[in-house]
């Protein structure tokens, strides 16, 4: 013991300690050299999404088409030409490519497709696409976004039409397309039976009144109703907007309505709509109805009107005549008030 009270430790290390030190240093050296070697072979592509990963073509099991439904289709006269293909959100573009974004922005759940032929005429076949969306509104959104203006009505569901080679309809959360291999009345008739069979086989919740029903019927152009899932009229964040086209002799306009969670959100949405047109050079216009709370703008030879009423934002887009636009906006506003009182 030293005079300070500390125990004096020997400065020399024993053989065991030396050996351990050498081993540890050696280990560190090996690690260091290994890292140098690996670093020299660094390939950034190894850290990217693997471009050669297999494409997912089908999700097995749990198909919308049950064996009983397959039998029902066979009873109609269809024979399956292919296996059932099922696609989730990650694989949807493997089937419909660039159109996938339309569905993905609208609550897409899954797509199930299959081809069926008429055995007596194998050249006649159809492919059925069943898009399951998260609810009726989004099924209507993708239906209305793609509706063909030259279509004929189809007596099947509230939202259905047909063309010379296809049937297109909404049933609850399902948007269904049945596309024929050619123009054939025989095939179209069988497809209609198959469509009815689908509706019968899938019971869905009763359709509730929604915003589209608050748009006035008078002067409305038939089948012009559309639900835009996102960025309606090119305005970022203007989502879930119902609209319909209106016509009075030489004048036209689009009436629109959208519901938000709260009145504050609806007011904010109305302000953003107004700001969008002001930022692009729109001029504010005084309303002929001094008591109204509508904001009116004139831009690029069109009138734009927006208001908020409770949880709703509504208005008129691209109207050619101010008086008609104000009238239409007023009708939409009144419809919202009536509905809100009754609700």
């Amino acid at each position: 013991m030293s005079g300070s009270g500390f125990k004096i430790v020997s400065k020399t290390t024993n053989r065991r300690q030396s050996l351990i030190s050498i081993v540890l240093i050696g280990l560190l050296a090996v690690i260091g050299v290994s890292m140098l070697v690996i670093q020299s072979r660094y390939d950034p592509s190894a850290w990217r999404v693997d471009p050669t990963a297999g494409l997912q073509a089908a999700l097995p099991g749990n198909y919308l088409e049950t064996p009983a439904q397959t039998q029902a289709l066979e009873a109609i006269g269809f024979k399956p030409l292919s296996t059932i293909e099922s696609y989730d959100a990650g694989a949807l573009s493997d089937k419909i490519n660039g159109k996938a974004e339309l569905y993905l922005a609208a609550g897409f759940q899954r797509l199930e497709t299959r081809r069926y032929a008429l055995p007596e005429n194998p050249g006649l076949w159809m492919e059925r696409y069943i898009y399951e969306m998260d609810d009726y509104s989004n099924a209507f959104a993708v239906f209305s976004a793609q509706r063909r203006t030259a279509s004929e009505p189809l007596d099947l569901t509230a939202d259905a039409y047909k063309s010379a080679n296809g049937l297109f309809f909404v049933h609850g959360p399902f948007y269904v397309e049945m596309i024929a291999s050619g123009v054939s009345q025989q095939l179209l008739t069988k497809m209609t039976e198959a469509a009815k069979q689908f509706v019968k086989a899938h019971s869905v919740a009763e359709k509730k009144l929604n915003e589209i029903d608050l748009l006035p019927n008078q002067n409305r152009i038939a089948d012009s109703e559309i639900l835009v899932a996102e960025n309606a009229f090119g305005i970022d964040g203007f989502n879930q907007v119902y609209s319909a086209r209106y016509k009075w002799e030489q004048d036209e306009a689009t009436g629109f309505i959208t519901r938000r969670n709260t009145a504050e959100e609806a007011q904010k949405q109305a302000r953003e709509f107004a700001d969008y047109f002001l930022n692009y050079g729109g001029e504010a216009v005084a309303s002929p109805d001094t008591g109204s709370k509508m904001s009116i703008f004139f831009i690029l030879d069109f009138y734009e009107i927006v208001f908020s009423e409770g949880d709703y934002t509504g208005g008129v887009h691209e109207a050619t005549d101010l008086d008609k636009a104000v009238f239409l906006a007023g009708e939409i506003q009144n419809a919202i008030r009536e509905f809100s009182r009754a609700d």
Partner: protein, 307 residues
């Protein structure tokens, strides 16, 4: 320890991919001796319009020489019948094959990497039957046909699986594309047609759709492109699905400048090059010109047969 850390410090960060890991560059299939040329034919008969268009820009013999091995790159993306306009019409394939063989081509092959199952796509679109009937062979995009490839000065196609093998076996490449609306890019025409050379999870590129289409123009320098607008898909592209999506635009365009050809094709959809950013980007990259008038396109009207 500090010295060791300094030694490991990567100052530059991840750099460009080592091009030595990619396969050799593809040759240009363009004919340097030919000036940029374009022809626009108005008519109903696809085969006749095709012949007139090629004749107007020098004739098939100015593009295809005896012994040439020709690849027709079609759009066979979807397993849908030809009348829906979502894929290259088989009449284009048949007539183009016959023209090439008539000019003395040693072989004509047809290929694409479709979105859907390749066999179904080539058969149900009528492309395979059309090719076979005229003497062409269909090259399916099997795994061994792909190579890991990098486009020089490209940003997106880097160490990516590309359908290179069929391209390495030919010395002439002709693109055959329909005119289509496209939900993502605004239009699908001759430049977008080369998307069918990409493998892997190429849908990732949808997030930069205009950039990838422009880069496809750097991937391939074709001998000739044909843009079939006899019937155009005006809405609901790229899949369509209804005859109501189509319009008889009665126009077929042939040219050596795919940017110029697509610029004219845009007008059939009621659009201009300004509506399609990938065309402006392709012009900026030096692939071609959106001002198709500079090529002094030959405008022809195909006479209708009597009765």
């Amino acid at each position: 320890m500090g010295a060791t850390g300094l030694a490991f410090w990567d100052r530059k960060g991840p750099g460009r991919f080592d091009s030595q890991t990619s396969s050799p560059l593809l040759p240009s299939f363009a004919l340097p001796e030919k000036k940029p040329a374009m022809a626009v034919v108005r008519g109903n008969d696809r085969g006749k319009c095709l012949e007139l268009a090629i004749k107007a820009i020098g004739g098939i013999s100015s593009f295809i020489r005896p012994g040439d091995r020709v690849l027709l790159k079609v759009n066979a993306a979807f397993a849908t019948p030809p009348f829906l306009g979502a894929t290259t019409h088989p009449e284009c394939v048949t007539h183009m094959t016959k023209l090439c063989l008539k000019a003395g081509a040693a072989s004509v092959s047809v290929t694409d990497n479709p979105i859907n199952d390749p066999v179904s796509c080539f058969e149900l679109t009528g492309i395979a039957p059309g090719a076979r009937s005229a003497g062409a062979t269909v090259v399916l995009p099997t795994e061994n046909q792909f190579e890991t490839y990098t486009v020089p000065n490209g940003r997106l196609i880097s160490n990516w699986p590309v359908l290179c093998k069929p391209l390495r076996q030919v010395n002439k490449v002709i693109g055959l594309a329909p005119v289509k609306d496209h939900h993502r890019s605004g239009a699908s025409m001759t430049l977008k047609n080369w998307y069918g050379l990409l493998g892997g999870r190429r849908n990732l590129f949808h997030q930069q759709i205009h950039a990838i289409i422009s880069e496809l123009g750097q991937l391939i320098h074709p001998t000739l492109v044909i843009l079939d607008g006899i019937t155009s898909m005006m809405t609901n592209g790229p899949t369509g699905g209804s005859l109501d999506d189509l319009k008889a635009t009665k126009t077929l365009i042939a040219g050596t400048d795919q940017v110029a050809v697509d610029s004219f094709g845009a007008t059939l959809l009621g659009k201009t090059a300004n509506d399609l950013p990938h065309l402006l980007m392709a012009q900026q990259a030096g692939i071609g010109t959106v001002d198709y008038q500079l090529l002094k396109p030959v405008m022809i009207t195909q006479s209708s047969p009597a009765g």
